[in-house]
Symmetry: D2
Subunit: 293 residues, 4 copies
C-alpha cells in the first residue's frame, strides 16, 4: 500500500507538484494522512515523458526514502514535463526493497504503477507468471505483484503501441478481471487492492478497486483545471476546460480541507476509474466488473 | 533526535536485543513510541566489540532504513558480542544522509553515539572545529554535531586508551561543559539535547541532558540483571549481580508497561548519567554541571 | 565471469584471507590477473559459517565495488570463521547489478556461488525455471543464471540437509548434467562456463568446467596445509595433514609465482572438481560427464 | 585522477556525448585509455544547465560505478542541455566514496570539477580550510581536495554571479596560484595535478596544469565545430564557427586516431587553459603562473 501521483496537462517543473505542496508525495513518504500506516519509505520512483520529441518516458528510481534523496530534489527541480508519474513505496512484508521493485514500471511508451496489494500473492504468483507470453515474462525483473500486473497488461494489449483512450481503459479492466480469475483459481479469496495507473503519454487511466465488497480500496483523488503555480507553495487548479491539467493522487496534495467549497480535490468512488483523454478531458466511470471473489 | 541501544554484559547474538524484542530498535526506526516524530529512517549503525581477543570494535553502517536492510538482519543474527552499540538516525533538517553521518562513531577502542541535537549548530560549528587538535580535526569526516562531539571527547581524553570508568564519566561531563561554553560564546542560547553514550569495551557511560531547564531531554532508560533470552521474543532481565547485563536504551525494548511492577526498565532522570563499570555494575548520578545557558 | 574464494579449515579472521594477501579478492575486484577483462566491480558478497553453534551461514552482500566498501573492511577484519565463501562479481551484459544478483547464494545450511556464464541464458531461462519445484522456484529472487543453478541444486538434493561429501559432489555433477541437457533442448550450443562452489559448512566442493572442448574454463586453483598468518601480509600454507586448511580460489591469492617450487597453489585441471571433506582432506577428480554439447 | 567531459554548444541529448561514443565516459569509467590505472569506478556525476529559463544547473551523482547505473542511462537518454559537465571518479587512496565527494560540485549558477590530485593534501587541508570565508567554509560537505578548491574559487570571485569569460579565467588562475602558495607554506613540495573545469552556464574554462616541471599533467583534449549526431554512434564535430559546439574531455571520446587528419581532437598543451566564451568561441592560452614549487 503505497502513495502515487499521475499528472497530465500543462508542462510543469516536477517539484511544483511532487515536492512543494503541503501534503506532497515527499510528505506522504514519511507521514501519509490517508493510510493507517503512515510510512512509505521503501524507495520511490519518477517516470516522465520528455518535453522534446521523444515518446518514451524516463525512469528514475531509488531504494532510498524519497524524503532524504538529494538526487530526487535536484531532478524534480530541473526536469519539466507535461505527463509524469511519481510513486513512494511501502513494501509488502517479506518483499525486498530493490530498484527492480520500485514503481513506476516502464516499457516503451507505457508507464505503470500500482498502489495496493494482491493478498496471498505467493499462492498464485507462479500461475500468473505461467500465463504470460515469453515476451512479457522476460520483462519481469523483480518480485512484486505490481510488476506482474504490468506484464499482464502488456500481454493484454498485445504490446500494441497505438491505443485509444478507450482501448487503454478497457485493457485495464481486462487486467483486473484476469487478476480476479487467477486469484479465484488459486483459492486466494481474501481482498485484493488494485489501484492502478497507466499512461502512454497521450491518455492516462487510473482505477480504485477492491475485490472485497466489505472493505474500501486504497484512497484515490483527482483534481483538474487550469494550473496556477505559486513557487514553493501549493499549486491550485480551477475549471478551465481549454487548458485543462489533471492530477490523480492517492491523497490530496494541497491543504484546503476536502469538505471546503474551495477544495480542488474530488474523491474517486470505490471501484471506479478516472479516465483522461488526449485533450486532458476527464471522465469517471464505474468499473464494469463483477468483483465478487 | 534518534534512538539508540548500548549493551554490555553476557555474550549474546545481536538480534536477540536489536531485532527480536517487541519495541526493538528496528521497530523504533519506523515507529518510535517516545518521540513526537516517530520516524528514524535516515540510516543506522552497529558497533560491536568482538568476542575474540581484539579490543577494537567493528562498525557496520548504512544510509538505508534499518527496517528493510537485509545485511543488518543477517549480521545481527550471526554476530555475537558482550558489548555493542546500535543506533537509528533521524537526520536534522538539512543534514545529509550519508555513511559518514551514521552513528556509532569509532576510534580505536572507543565507540560513541548521540541522540539529540545541538540547536543552532551552524552558528558555532566552525568555532568548535577550530578548537580541535589536528589529530581530532582530521577524524571528522561528516557533517554532524554528533561527530564533532566525539572529536571533542577524544581531545578531552587526549586520545588516552587506558581510562577508568570514572575517567570516562568525567570526560563525558567535560565534553558537555565544553559544548555549553562553545554555544554560549556563539550566543546559541536555545536548547541542546545531549544524550551521549560512550564505551571503551570495558566501561560504558550514557548521559541524559538538556541545557534548557524548561524542556525534557530525549528519553533514556536502562535495565539490568541476569539475561534470559527467549528466541524471537522479548528477553528479560532480573536482578542477579553476579551475572549482570546492562542495557541502556532510548526506549524500553520489551513490552511490559513501565508502570508494571514486572517492568525491567528504569527511567533515567533528567541531567543524569548511567555509569557501567568493568564488572557491569550500574550507578546513576546527577551530572554536576550548571547547565543554565 | 567473476572471481571467488572458498575457505575451510582453521578458524581465521576473514581479512587475513580476503583482504590482506597480495592478490586478494579486493585486488582482483579491480585488477584480476587471470581474466582478459580484469574488472569485477559489480558488487560482492561474503557468506560465513559462525564460530558458535549455528549451522546456518550469514550473508553480507553489496552492489558497491568491493575495493571501496568500508563495511566490508570492517566486517572482514572482525568476523572469524572456519568456513566461508567470498565473491566479486562481473555482471554479464544486460544483467542488473542488484543485491539479489550478488553471490554467494544461501539457503539454510548451504552456501553457493558461481564463476562463469551460461551462454544464451535468455534462450532457456524460462524452461529452466519451469523445471523447478515450487519450493525452489519461490527462492529465485534475482535474474542470474547462477541463482537458477542454485535452485536446480536444491531440487537435485531434494532440499536434504544431511549430505555426505560424496552426496554433495554427485549433486553438483547432476546439476551440470541438467544444465547441459536444458541447454541442448534449447539449442544453446555455445559454451557454458560452470565453475561452481558449494558448502554445507562441513564439506566443500568446487568445479572447473566448460562444455566446449576447445575453450578453457575459468581459472581455478587450490591450496592446502597448515595455515600461517602474517598480519597484513600473505598467509602461507604448508603440508600438515593433521591441521589442514583448504582454500579454493579463482586465482592464487599470494605472490609466489606458480612456477616456483615454493608456490602454495595448484591449478585445477579442466573439467575437474576439488572435493574437501569434513576433516578438510582434499581430493581432485575428473568430472564424469560427457560434456559435448 | 579521474576523467571528465565539459560540453557547451548546440542543445543535445546527454547520452549522445556521455554514453554512445566509442570511448565514452562510461567506457572510461572501466577502461580509460590515457591513464596508467584504467579504472574510474568510485562514483560519477552529471551537472547540466536546463534548456528552459533556469540559470542554475542540476546535479545528479552516485557512488555506484557509472557503467552499471541504470538511472544514469535513463537520465542521460532523456535530458537535453546546451551546457553540461560529466565526471567519473577514481578516489585517492584513503578518500571515502560518498555522494559529497562526487564531482561536479555546484553552487548557484556555477558548476565545477577537478581531474587530478593535490599531493600531500592532509598536510595543508586545515590551513586551506582556515583561509576560507565562513560562507565558503560552510559549503564544504565532503573530504576531497577538489571540493576545497571549489570553495577557494567561490571566495576568489567573492561569490559574484556576473563574471565575464575573462573574469572566470583569471579567477581560475588565481585559484591555482593560491593552491601553490598554500602548498608551499606547508612544505608540500611534490606534484599537484590541477585539471579544473568551471562554468557559469555562459562561459566555460578548463585548465591542464602540473606544478612539477618534470611530470605531465593529466591528459586533456578539446574539440569544436558543428555537431553531427549519429544515433548510438560517434558524433562528429567540424569547423563551423557560426554554430560552434565545444567539448573539453580528459580523453578523445570518438575513435578516429589523434594522428589522423580526420581526428576532431586537439591536445591541450601542458599548463594551458581552454577558454570558451558566450558565443562558444575557443581560445587556448598558456597559464601565466610561475609554477615552480
Amino acid at each position: 500500500m503505497c502513495r502515487f501521483i499521475a499528472y497530465k496537462g500543462e508542462e510543469v517543473t516536477l517539484n511544483d507538484i511532487v515536492i512543494s505542496p503541503t501534503n506532497s508525495l515527499i510528505e506522504q513518504s514519511k507521514d501519509a494522512k490517508k493510510r493507517k500506516k503512515p510510512l512509505n519509505g521503501d524507495g520511490f520512483g519518477l517516470s516522465w515523458y520528455p518535453t522534446h520529441n521523444d515518446p518514451f518516458p524516463a525512469r528514475f528510481v531509488s531504494i532510498e526514502p524519497a524524503w532524504s534523496n538529494q538526487n530526487l530534489q535536484q531532478i524534480a527541480s530541473k526536469v519539466r514535463s507535461q505527463c509524469f508519474f511519481a510513486h513512494v513505496r511501502d513494501a509488502s512484508v517479506g518483499m525486498p526493497v530493490s530498484q527492480a521493485n520500485c514503481h513506476p514500471f516502464n516499457y516503451q511508451k507505457y508507464t505503470f504503477m500500482h498502489n495496493g496489494r494482491l493478498d496471498q500473492f505467493a499462492k498464485f504468483r507462479r500461475n500468473l507468471l505461467n500465463q504470460l507470453s515469453n515476451r512479457a515474462f522476460d520483462l519481469v525483473k523483480g518480485n512484486t505483484d505490481s510488476e506482474c500486473i504490468f506484464a499482464l497488461f502488456l500481454d493484454t494489449i498485445e504490446f500494441a503501441d497505438n491505443l485509444s483512450t478507450d482501448d487503454l481503459t478497457q485493457a485495464l479492466y481486462r487486467v483486473i478481471e484476469k487478476i480476479i480469475q487467477i486469484r479465484r483459481e488459486a483459492d486466494a479469496n481474501t481482498n485484493a487492492f488494485i489501484n492502478l495507473a497507466v499512461s502512454d503519454g497521450t491518455s492516462m487511466v487510473a482505477t480504485r478497486f477492491a475485490t472485497d465488497r466489505e472493505s474500501q480500496p486504497a484512497s484515490l483523488f483527482y483534481s483538474q483545471g487550469k494550473l496556477a503555480i505559486a513557487a514553493g507553495k501549493d499549486f491550485s487548479l480551477n475549471g478551465n476546460s481549454a487548458q485543462n491539467t489533471v492530477i490523480i493522487s492517492s491523497e490530496p496534495l494541497t491543504s484546503e480541507p476536502l469538505t471546503s467549497d474551495k477544495s480542488d480535490w474530488i474523491k474517486v468512488a470505490r471501484n471506479h476509474a478516472v479516465i483522461v483523454d488526449a485533450r486532458n478531458q476527464v471522465v469517471t466511470q464505474a468499473i464494469p466488473i463483477d468483483y465478487q471473489t
